[in-house]
């Protein structure tokens, strides 16, 4: 079973790495550059799980999560937040915004896979 993952990050390097890690793990990666782009993609793809960066142009991660959660179609999709900090404050913030979990950058592919497993099977 190939998990469909929508990965949102404005950094091309990070997208490349997510793509590599996800596809190496046998997942299907859909990549978006920012919140706006990701919402566009949600209209046409049905990811099992979303991974999103926080700091992005046009629409940042928090606003993106909020947009996803407030749409009935997508409100149940697990969302993992990519963050460079593992500070509790940020976790609380991510959770308050509606995130399911978080991945601390730089991520270890095995941990990424495990995190995806924890939220999306």
């Amino acid at each position: 079973m190939s998990l469909q993952v929508l990965a949102v990050d404005d950094s091309r390097t990070m997208r490349d790495m997510l793509n590599l890690a996800l596809s190496s793990a046998g997942f299907t990666a859909h990549l978006a550059e920012d919140g706006v782009h990701a919402l566009e993609m949600l209209e046409v793809t049905e990811p099992d799980v979303i991974i999103t960066d926080i700091n992005m142009p046009r629409m940042d991660g928090f606003r993106f999560i909020d947009a996803v959660r407030s749409n009935d179609k997508w409100s149940r999709i697990p969302i993992l937040v990519l963050t460079t900090e593992s500070a509790d404050e940020l976790k609380a913030k991510a959770r308050a915004a509606g995130a399911t979990g978080w991945i601390v950058k730089p991520f270890d592919p095995a941990k990424l896979v495990k995190a995806l497993q924890m939220v999306a099977g």
Binding site: S24, T28, A29, E33, M41, V49, R76, G98, P106, P109
Partner: protein, 742 residues
Amino acid sequence: MSDPMAEIRASFFIECEELLESLQDGLQTMDDGDTDPETINIVFRAVHSIKGGAGAFGLDNLVHFAHRLESAMDEVRTGRFHPDGEAIRLFFTCADVLGDLVRAARDDDTVSSDVTDPVLEKLEKLVGVEEEAEEDLDFTPTTLSLDFGDDMALPTLPDLSALPTPEPDPADAPLPGGKGFTIFFKPDPALYLSGNEPLYLFRTLRDLGDLTVTCHTTALPTLDQIDAATGHLSWTLTVHTEESEQAVREVFEFVDGLCQLDITPFATVPSATLPFPLTATPFLPPLSPPEQPASTAMLPDPTTVPETLVAKDTAVRVKPVETPPSESSAPAKPSGTPTQPHATVRVDLERIDRLVNLVGELVINQAMLSQSVTEAGLPPNSPISTGLEEFLQLTRDIQESVMMIRAQPIKSLFQRMGRIVRESSASVGKEVRLHTDGENTEVDKTVIERLADPLTHMIRNAVDHGLESPDKRLAAGKPREGHVTLTAQHRSGRIVIEVSDDGAGINRERVRAKAIEKGLIPTDAQLTDGDIDNLLFLPGFSTAQEISNLSGRGVGMDVVKSSIQALGGRIAITSQEGKGTTFSISLPLTLAVLDGMIVRVANETLVVPLNAILETLTLTQDDVKALGPQAHVVQIRGGFVPLFDLGAELGYRPPQESYVGGIVLLIGQEDGNRAALAVDGIEDQRQVVIKGLEGSYGPVPGIAAATILGDGQIALILDPTDLVSQASGRTRSRPPQHALAG
């Protein structure tokens, strides 16, 4: 590709350059007084992204510096710190150092902490970010390595069939023994709202060891009262594992605080009452709206799958994954990304250069073919000739397209100059602002690279010697802050780059005196202002040691001039006393081809760049006038132009007896002066492929480069301006005082 990580790493450094560029842009905008929060965000994000990528590649020094800078930017972003001019100058310095670190990391080099530490110190002093030791510890870069192997063997997601079979008889439960944990887990309703799903947690837990799951259903309301979004269930889980409690807790990391969780090291046999069947449907199918029954959620929703996307998947790197028919056969998902903006391809420059060379060969081959066709005596309107004509056009089109691949905006170079201005102005205690214009002018990549040194030199000169000290400026009624302007534009098939300052202008008296003192000009030389200005380009006019107490310019301007000439360019200078000085560089669009006139001189074939030739004429008796004992001038429409004998100037032969009836090329130079070059004959006019001489031999005076003609012979490409500037001007045979050729 063999190593995807190496590829991503290379791409990371390219992205870094882009990020550094937007960082510079953002800081510039801030410096211009813009306080738009998005500008600060851009700056913050650039640093943040560099840090993020650097962390993934274990580039500790880069991470460390970027992290500190990011923290400082965060202070600005959150409005806790309001940067003034001084702060922004420091940010610029930080950006410069960050750039150094990026390039050092790229080239496996290091930047001394003597460079980074003082900057960080200043930054923290200024912005007042306390060292967040804890966060630094948190952000331990872990080098990303992908060890999945070729078979994509991910840490296998538990196949549902492999999960412990629901076992009604507690006697058959795994025997307690060894190590393990008993976990009581009761989700709060908020757990479900966060998108977490207990089933997946259990599956993850199962990877740690044998798992027994007991579901407590006592709190379960009657069916009609079930709210999908609210949890009513709790579980007791027993896992037999050698793993630490930490590993078990990690499984519940995302739901920490969203549930009641008690983990106790394995002690007793759990009183397994009702093992929960893990093969059941997830409690909350991820894609189903809460009010929908689970079964219907599994059906494809036609409204969300536009079929147009199926064909669009070419641009997406999706690894084909076997999709065994599973019980949760979700709707077929389009594998294409709907929008793939800025589709670009990264190509190794070497490949492009190879293409450029091949196209060059094509041009040469074509010339050979044309020559053969002409020699075969085919009429010009024969099918072969017309076919060849079309071939020629196609070749030119290909050539142009190939050249466009190599072109890139000059912006990166201009940004580097921003740093030069900041650093050199700081070192001489001047306040200087750099203005740039035409940053998006596209220039051949090699030209950009090779412009860096001469331009750096010129910018330093402008700051160092062009601009006055703040006091002098104020005394002259100018603002304290000096201005240096850097512009680029396309002008009639060439690129023109100008460096100007609003300084004092060239002190011609001193330049003249200096040139006389150095023996570069005779004491009684009659020189125009332009002549004097051009003395700065003379080798030996000045050296770095001597210039420091000279208010004029001239630090190695001869070196600048020769680097520009090596690029097939020209440099000119204009200066106005009290107003400033402008250096103007004009460069060919490409280094690879040139439209040339093929001429013959003393049995040698030479190419003269067509854009240097104003006209060609045959001299009559009336046109040529003797001037002095050794020289001639050509009278053209009332003006007099010095005559140069190309064969003699190149040392091929002594000057001719007479030039009457001879052919001359009228050459226009950058400074507006003209010159007449005597040649033996004009053979052709065609495009030639430029082959540099510098790499194989070295620069040759008066010669710009070489090319290969249709017959396979090498012909030299003339640099008329250089030739004239170094010419003897002898057009009359006189016993030479010393041999011309060395």
